[in-house]
């Protein structure tokens, strides 16, 4: 038996039969020999990968490692350096596999190509050290066939991580293993937190055999070789063998079956767009995967959303709880993530899956306002009871993507913190349980996670705070005529003028989501108007900005504060109004657009044919369409006071209809001083405040006298249109509130018979256009009625008039008096003249208005009013003084001045004071008598029966109360009857009595009149709500079914001979009047005959407390200069008409009296 020898070798098997040096029959110590060597554990792969004597030793090292693990008897799993090396190489391949996913996830990775010839040339020409490198690389390219040939052909590509302008190598191509990780790849991956999609570990950090990698990747490796056999398989033989050994076809059959080109995209060199190749084979990478790990897809940390269509449910990430709900103290939720939620990559699993973090729901800073909030108007966190300041919700819009805004009051809370801080908590419901997110805010935060409190003197007012919606398929959709307007008010604390705006608004609306579709919150960028209404340079330093949306109330309003450094702070304000289905009730709308005041009435139609219930337009408590961010009764705060004031002056007043601002309102608009009346609210609004608040000098311009616009006054037409529009929006809001459908409405508007055709046509067009746009009605639903006729129906309904009685309806407005005679409920004729309240309280024919030329009543009244005021309690006095302040601060017309006094009638008892002055009562009696006398003359000429009832309405009729406080106005009825008697029974005789300029020529008629017997009284009905009578009457008349079509036949009696009674459309023109020289003298004579009759009844004016002496005092004044004043009146009238060729629209009878009344008033001056 031969002596056994031992080999001086490191192999386990060392027995040999030969001693000394001898040839080894098995040849070289190759991989098989090496594989038989036991190696110690705990060796780092880097040691191994540096062991091979080649610049590409590292690449060989991975190849060698694959070779070792390809041995059938080698365990697939293990901790050896070869297992670790193979795992790292597989990680590199997985990085290639997941390339598209990582790019999509925002990983800063770059693909770089190394071109050997190009780069070696550069190196050789470079520094000495570069030449050293180049020589070594070149040597090995020439000698290392496994590397060199393929590198020369394909070059080498590298995957680098980018950090700013620096790149670091992560992976390099390898002709031996397709890809290989760079030495620093593990550290780099940890540094940039480059994690395996769907798994928790960072690349290159964990040893994982191919068999425990995702099936899709295993299939990729299999398919890579299966589909691309040949060069790749030969070049990467060890890897190929390993893959075949570890991954059986059966184990990945399902994944392999999915392996189609559609699953992959080619890895492309970004510099030239050419595919990246290894061994000439274009390398595929996995298409971005939408696969979601089951673990995540069923995570209990998914949020439980209120909104439809949110799939998949995002995971809520917080510290110490992983995506899948595992408690892990090392897990830290990202502080921020700029990517869209859908594009995010779970930090622990590196799988693209939507998730939310606290920063998605919390604003970085919080806004604090110095008042309590209106939780009825906005969806806000519950407020603390002791509130001197309030925090606006620091909730980001993202909240609304998942949760209904109505959840804000219940899921969002504030907690006070020490150090003047506040914490905001948001309860986020999860699939299992919930999680409460918190963020702290301090005036001066110390921790990076805390936000700053930003104080803002800003307030917001919105109209209309309601969300009407048609119902379609059971879902509310936008209605019609939608308008949402917002008034943003900012009080600049700085006293410097021209401080730029800090606050702004942005609006977001939700698109109704059809079944299964995703709820979407979208910014409103179109059909939005923004206008600075009150510039912040005004003395108050308070600015207002109007936002006007031609669309329904937005889902959310974002208040945005911008600080000087550009930093923005946002608050999410969601209106509390819920979608309100449009009801089915039908309403009749009547709007009396009067010269002085405007009134609106709504009649809810009944189904039983009965007359509708007519009510004035009013918003009862809780239904006000205008709401503010501040809670009611917060006026102690300057910003709130300013906001309230601006809302009342520039917007729809807060509490309209329930407090100080009610209808009827003055027919007036307020505009921004430097603007054009083009956009409602942005430029102009109804001046509800007029006669209630002082006009803000310099901040607004008030325009009255809208009704009697001339053809050339286009600006006035625009004002009227916008005035009507605002009114209709109020009407629309009220109808919707009452369950009505505005589209089912009818609209009645009123016009005086004295309107020119132009005016009537113009207003008719405006009404129709605005009603169609705002209410959604057909044009046919818009009708009109004369202001003369409407009151009849009012009285008809109110007084239960016997329908067959002849009734004279007289509506005395602010600028015109409209008269209709009804017989058997049918209007028989109508007439209208500009002799109304203005004739009493106005400035006559004075063109120059000023203290010295105004109506004497004003001068008489002011000291009395002031005296009364001085005796009032302070608050009432203050309010009244505020209303009356225009009298002292601006040059109001006398008519407006008196109206101001009537506005505070309740406080200063203005009507009562007027009743104490005989001269004023004389004026009123003259006014009344002239109207009756003229009506009687027209009726006599029309051969109509005398009226049995006189119905009075209109704001101008208010003066009748001054004259006759008796119930039923019996004394006035007596006077009216006397006048009718004179005209009907004695006129033939009186008309023949000559009258001349000499006042004595009146005596004859005076004598006759004085002798006429008093035989009773005409019944007088004075509307209890003077202004409302027109509107209510219009609705009631319409309900009777004939009012709209039975427009009274309009007549104009110029006032002279009998033949000056014309049908309205046949009246002579102003030119023709000049060609008929007898008319004006006849009119003057007729007027004097009236004066004489009036004087003749003077001894019967005792019930009116008008002494005979007072009448006598003014006899001459009334008699003289009649022709002159007639001419003056004609001249003034012509100025308001369109031209001399126009037909005359009213009688000449009143012109002299207008002047006479003014002159009588002058006698009242101290």
């Amino acid at each position: 038996m031969p002596t056994p020898f031992t080999l001086l070798s490191i192999a386990t098997a060392r027995e040999t039969e030969r001693s000394g040096w001898h040839r080894r029959d098995a040849g070289a110590y190759d991989a098989a020999y090496a594989n038989a060597i036991e190696e110690p554990v705990a060796t780092q792969p880097d040691r191994l990968l540096a062991a091979i004597p080649s610049p590409f030793g590292r690449l060989h090292g991975f190849d060698v490692a694959f070779g070792f693990l390809s041995e059938p008897n080698r365990p697939v799993e293990g901790e050896s350096v070869f297992h670790a090396s193979v795992s790292q190489c597989l990680d590199a391949m997985e990085l290639v596999f997941n390339w598209q996913t990582h790019l999509m996830c925002g990983a800063k990775l770059a693909l770089v190509r190394w071109h050997p010839s190009q780069e070696l040339d550069r190196l050789k020409k470079g520094r000495p050290g570069h030449a050293v490198l180049a020589e070594a690389l070149e040597l090995y390219f020439g000698q290392d066939t496994a590397i060199g040939a393929h590198v020369r052909e394909d070059g080498l590509w590298l995957i680098a991580a980018e950090e700013g302008t620096h790149r670091s190598a992560l992976v390099v191509a390898s002709p031996l293993t397709i890809a290989a990780p760079a030495p620093e790849a593990a550290a780099l991956a940890a540094q940039i937190d480059l994690r395996m999609p769907g798994r928790k570990y960072v690349y290159f950090s964990t040893t994982v055999p191919l068999s425990r990698r995702p099936p899709a990747f295993q299939a990729y490796m299999r398919a890579l070789f299966r589909l691309r056999q040949g060069a790749l398989t030969r070049g990467c033989e060890r890897m190929f063998t390993y893959v075949n050994r570890v991954v059986s076809t059966a184990s990945v059959a399902q994944a392999l079956a999915r392996f189609t080109n559609a699953n992959y995209v080619q890895l492309v060199d970004p510099s030239d767009g050419l595919p990246i190749a290894v061994h000439g084979v274009h390398l595929p990478t996995s298409a971005p995967s939408g696969d979601v790990d089951e673990e995540v897809a069923t995570s209990p940390r998914r949020i439980r959303v209120d909104r439809p269509g949110v799939t998949p449910l995002p995971v809520m990430l917080v510290d110490h709880v992983t995506s899948t709900g595992q408690h892990d103290m090392s897990f830290k939720a990202p502080a921020s993530d700029a990517r869209p939620v859908a594009d995010r990559v779970l930090p622990d699993l590196k799988r693209r899956y939507p998730f939310l973090i606290a920063a998605d729901l919390f604003e970085d800073q919080i806004i604090r306002v110095p008042y309590a909030l209106n939780t009825a108007a906005f969806l806000l966190p519950a407020a603390s009871k002791d509130v001197t300041a309030s925090f606006l919700p620091p909730v980001r819009r993202a909240y609304l993507e998942y949760f209904d805004e109505t959840s804000i009051p219940t899921r969002v809370r504030f907690r006070p913190l020490d150090g003047a801080g506040v914490a905001c908590d948001i309860d986020v419901p999860l699939v299992h349980g919930s999680v409460t997110l918190s963020k702290s805010y301090y005036p001066t935060p110390q921790l990076p996670s805390a936000g700053r409190i930003v104080d803002a003197d800003v307030d917001l007012i919105a109209f209309p705070m309601m969300r009407p919606a048609k119902m379609e398929d059971g879902r509310p959709v936008a209605a019609f005529g939608d308008l949402s307007a917002f008034l943003l008010v900012e009080l600049e604390r700085s006293q410097a003028a021209h401080v730029p705006w800090r606050s702004d608004l942005a609006f977001y609306t939700s698109t109704p989501a059809p079944d299964g579709e995703r709820f979407a919150l979208q910014p409103i960028v179109d059909r939005i108007g923004i206008q600075e209404r009150t510039k912040k340079a005004t003395p108050s330093y308070t600015g207002s900005k109007m936002f006007h949306l031609d669309r329904p109330l937005p889902t959310a309003i974002e208040l945005v504060l911008t600080e000087e450094n550009g930093r923005k702070t946002r608050a999410l304000l969601c209106p509390a109004a819920r979608p309100q289905p449009v009801g089915s009730a039908a309403f009749d709308i009547a709007i009396d657009f009067g010269t002085t005041n405007t009134f609106i009435a709504l009649g809810r139609r009944r189904g039983d044919g009965r007359a509708p219930d007519v009510l004035p337009l009013a918003f009862t408590g809780g239904s006000e369409p205008t709401l503010a961010l501040h809670a009611p009764n917060q006026s102690g705060q300057p910003i709130v006071a300013h906001a309230d004031k601006l809302a009342n002056h520039e917007f729809v007043p807060l509490g309209l209809g329930t407090g100080r601002y009610t209808l009827p309102t003055r027919t007036a608009v307020a505009e921004r001083p430097d603007g054009h009346a083009q956009r409602l609210f942005a430029d102009i609004n109804v001046a509800f405040f007029l006669q209630r608040d002082a006009v803000r000098a310099g901040a607004e311009v008030v325009t009255t006298h809208l009704k009697w616009m001339r053809r050339a006054e286009t600006a006035t037409i625009d004002r009227v249109r916008l005035f009507l529009r605002e009114m209709l929006h109020l009407v629309r809001a009220r109808i919707l509130q009452q369950g009505g459908d505005p589209r089912e409405s009818t609209l009645i508007w009123f016009w005086p018979l004295s309107f020119t055709t132009y005016l009537r046509n113009t207003l008719e067009r405006l009404w129709r256009e605005e009603a169609v746009a705002v209410l959604g009605v057909d044009a046919s639903a818009v009708g009109s009625m004369t202001e003369s006729a409407a009151p009849f129906y009012y009285h008809h309904a109110r007084a239960r008039l016997v329908s067959d009685k002849p009734v004279l309806s007289i509506d005395i407005g602010g600028g015109s008096t409209d008269v209709v005679f009804f017989e058997r409920q049918t209007p028989r004729f109508g007439t209208s003249f500009n002799f109304a309240g203005n004739a009493l309280w106005g400035d006559g024919f004075n063109l120059v208005r000023g203290p010295s030329d105004r109506n004497g009543i004003v001068d008489w009244a002011l000291p009395r009013v002031n005296d009364t005021l001085s005796r009032l309690d302070s608050p009432i006095q203050l309010h009244a003084r505020e209303i009356l302040s225009p009298l002292t601060t601006s040059l109001e017309s006398s008519e407006d001045a008196v109206n101001l006094c009537f506005a505070v009638d309740e406080q200063v008892k203005f009507t009562q004071q007027l009743a104490t002055e005989p001269v004023i009562k004389l004026m009123i009696l003259l006014h009344f008598s002239a109207v009756i006398f003229h009506c009687a003359q027209v009726m006599r000429l029309r051969k109509l029966r005398r009226p049995e009832i006189l119905c009075f309405s209109g704001y101008g009729s208010k003066s009748l109360d001054v004259l006759d406080p008796s119930s039923g106005k019996r004394h006035l009825g007596e006077q009216a009857l006397r006048l009718f008697d004179v005209v009907y029974d004695h006129w033939d005789r009186l008309a023949d009595v000559a009258v001349a300029d000499d006042p004595a020529s009146a005596d004859a008629i005076i004598g006759i009149a004085r002798e006429l017997p008093s035989r009773g009284s005409l019944q007088i009905l004075l509307a209890d709500r003077l202004k409302e009578a027109t509107c209510e009457g219009g609705i009631l008349g319409a309900a009777l079914g004939n009012a709209l079509r039975d427009t009274p036949e309009p007549f104009v009696y110029l006032g002279g001979a009998d033949d000056t009674l014309y049908e309205r459309d046949r009246v002579v023109s102003y030119e023709e009047l000049e060609r008929c020289p007898s008319i004006k003298p006849d009119v003057a004579a007729n007027f004097r005959r009236f004066i004489a009759v009036f004087l003749g009844f003077a001894d019967r004016y005792e019930p009116f407390d008008v002494p005979i002496g007072t009448v006598a005092d003014h006899r001459t004044r009334l008699w003289i200069q009649v022709s002159e004043t007639l001419e003056l009146g004609l001249e003034r009238r012509l100025k308001s008409e369109e031209g001399r060729e126009e037909r005359m629209s009213e009688t000449l009878f009143f012109y002299p009296l207008i002047d006479k009344l003014f002159r009588i008033s002058q006698t009242l001056k101290p």
Partner: protein, 504 residues
Amino acid sequence: MARLYLFAVGGTGARVLKCLCHLLAAGTPLRDEHGQAMDLVPLVIDPDKENGDTLECLGTLADYVKVKSQLIEQTGGGYPCGFFQTRVLGYRQLQAVAAAGAGAPEEGEENFRCGFIDAAKTRTFGEVIDYDFLESDLDRGEPTRLLVDALYSRTNIDTRLTGGFLGNPNVGTVVLNQVRHSRELKMLSGLFNSEDRIFLISSIFGGTGAAGFPVLLKQLRQARNEQGQEAPTLRQATVGALTVLPYFGLDDDAKSPVDANAFVPKTKAALAYYANHLGRVDALYYIGDRARKRYANTPTGITQRNLDHAIELIGATAVLHFAAQAKGGFGTPAYHECGVHVEPSKPFTLRGLGPVAHDIEEPVTQMAMMRLFLRGELSSPRSVELLFAQPWTKEGEFGRAFFTPQSPAFAPLSAYLERWWTSLANMARNDPKLQLFGDTLDVLRLDVDARRHPDAGDINKAVNALNRRLCGPPRSLQRLLTLLWKGTGDLYRKRYDHRTAVGV
């Protein structure tokens, strides 16, 4: 005379070369396939300027050459002596001899060393390749810098080359590639003749050797002359190589850049790489050991001077084996390994190497006898008196001055003998189981069986018998060495040789 150009790369290469030098000093012949003596042209390649192993090797070579050339050859011939019989030549010497030398002969002492040496001891690998100046043009993607980053770790880049490559052959390949620009390599194409051979010694598990071997091999196979033309003779040279596998360990030291645990995995990886990517080598010798002595973990510098190891000595015999192989017998290529006889529980002796030991044991035993004899005779006044009472000292006119430490004739020999003895004794100490010379050395140390082993008297007797037969100059080192070579040879053959006695 044919030459064996030997490249000892890295620390292990130097240690094996040193052992080879010791064998040659003892008289082991370096013969070619025809039995003709060969000249040895060694070159140590190691960028670690102060590597203790390398310096020891270079010192040994220098001492060898000194003894050989200055004290033996210069004193003239006439005394056939086995000790230091092989000529060890340096490139400078060859260049001086060559008629068509490449350039002017260099000044200074032969140092048997080439390759990149960082004299300033400051440069890192990154600085060598000007890493910091690699393309920083982001538009181009910094491709080369990224490639370097993909192939080399930051530690690699920052490695100071004064300490070698610290177990990173991938770094070494780039740096050692610069050896091609060394004067020695440039000269080689002009010096190399077809009967000459090349041998490379390196370890596979370290840094410098592992890197240098394939680089040198590739350079040789792509050799060009100084004019840039291909050098076919050199390219077709018969090349042998000794690849030393792990045979020692290192103490665990987490701070050390060298991890002994990585020796085996690195070896496995490198072997797998060699198998396919090494390039043509005619004979490859493998040696290593599973029973690995652990050394202190001093990877670089002058402190890296581990105890000599029998594997290195045995490895050195591969050179002798390769040189003697018939050129046509290598096959393509020939892979060799070494078997030894080891009996359990018994010390391992060189005889366990089998036939190889025959060429080693006798001269080494003679060298040992000589060293112990001289050392013993000079160790005390009494023994000195006895020495100078011997006829051979008298007749040879060796006076007391000859044997003084300051003697220009005797001192180099004495120094080399101590270097030699220390090296071999260390091998024995390194592994208590190892007995390099069986019982021979023990006898010479006179501490075992006095009955079999020669003493000073025996040696004197043998030398006296020889002295009279010598003709030549007296008082020469050559005469002394010849006397002792023959005397110890006779004694070895008489007392120990288990083979057929070989006459002097």
